[in-house]
């Protein structure tokens, strides 16, 4: 039974590792960025399988809840809001020298750290056979909430700071939109043609014109997308 368990664990590790690496490569290299975002979501849920192998059930659950449910949904939503990102011509840096340097640096990071991981005598540094399989979530909760409760409050403050930053950025975005309408270089900055002198008491434009003005914002970004 013991031999079966370890063999099963090795097979499961190799299966999950292969799936995760292939999905990560696809998320970086697939031509369609919508598919790439979906591949990233599936990769994040397979990483939770590693956490289950490593005796961390709560971390696995949080990985699925936040990464797969929140962050990958956020990325897919960002792709939806930015149709220009679906342009597959901006895949990589055009200059071959910069691309070569990038591949070289990341490849050397991977190579050196993989050598370090496989050759370093971990068994002398960390005593083996001391896996605490009886660890349950209650101990983790007591560590995080009871002994180190400040961390949780700091996480709440980080979340609120991100939210305030998002609101401030969206307000700046709206101010930029308003500048298009009322600003110095806005819609109304075009000079009035001399031969058609507008009446001073002319009523403002009918309602169709501002409506089309409003919807022309997303359409302007559409033509670059294709």
């Amino acid at each position: 039974m013991q031999g079966f368990e370890s063999a099963f664990e090795s097979v499961e590790f190799l299966l999950i590792a292969g799936i995760v690496i292939v999905l990560a490569y696809l998320a970086l290299e697939h031509k369609e960025i919508v598919y790439a975002a979906f591949f990233f979501g599936i990769m994040a849920s397979f990483v939770a399988g590693f956490f289950l192998l490593l005796e961390a059930p709560f971390v696995a659950g949080m990985q699925i809840a936040v990464y797969t449910g929140g962050i990958s949904a956020l990325i897919i939503f960002g792709v939806l809001l930015l149709p220009r990102a679906q342009d597959s011509t901006l895949e990589a840096i055009e200059s071959p020298r910069a691309k070569k340097i990038g591949i070289l640096v990341s490849g050397s990071i991977m190579f050196i750290s993989a050598i370090l991981a496989l050759r370093f005598p971990w068994s002398e540094t960390i005593p083996e056979g001391t896996i605490d399989a009886s660890l349950d979530v209650a101990l983790l909760a007591e560590w995080l909430w009871g002994d180190h409760g400040v961390y949780v409050q700091i996480v709440a403050l980080i979340m609120v700071t991100a939210l305030v930053g998002v609101i401030a950025l969206m307000k700046m975005d709206k101010a930029e939109l308003m500048k298009d309408i009322t600003g110095e270089f806005g819609i109304e900055a075009r000079p009035v043609p001399e031969e058609i002198e507008p009446e001073p008491e002319e009523s403002p434009e009918p309602e169709e014109a501002p409506e089309s003005e409003k919807t022309s914002e997303p359409e302007a970004s559409e033509e670059v997308a294709d």
Partner: protein, 106 residues
């Protein structure tokens, strides 16, 4: 039990892939995906150390939890920054040269 070095090898392969994506790609969303892949690799390394070292178990798992929550916050901010970049420069291309007028407009 799978040896610790296997987990570390997978973690470092993921970190290298994410670094490759962040350095070579020009698409802003692709760069963000690369950063998230690097974060996942770091999580795997932390979890492996947490279970193989008896004194680091609770600390390691709590670190992963804090990392995931901070990743959620920075992804939200990064996406809104991308929207602002797209509104200002009309592109999500990081390698696009910005003209002099656009520089003066800033």
């Amino acid at each position: 039990m799978v040896p610790l070095s296997w987990y570390l090898a997978v973690a470092f392969i993921l970190i290298g892939l994410g670094a490759y994506g962040m350095m070579v790609k020009r698409n802003l969303i692709r760069i963000l995906i690369g950063a998230e892949i690097m974060g996942n690799g770091v999580s795997i390394a932390l979890a492996a150390f947490a279970v193989y070292s008896p004194t680091f178990t609770l600390t390691g798992q709590a670190l992963i939890i804090l990392m995931i929550s901070v990743a959620a916050a920075h992804t939200a901010l990064a996406l809104v920054l991308m929207l602002a970049y797209n509104r200002r420069y009309g592109s999500v291309d990081l390698g696009k040269p910005i003209s002099q007028e656009e520089k003066l407009d800033v």
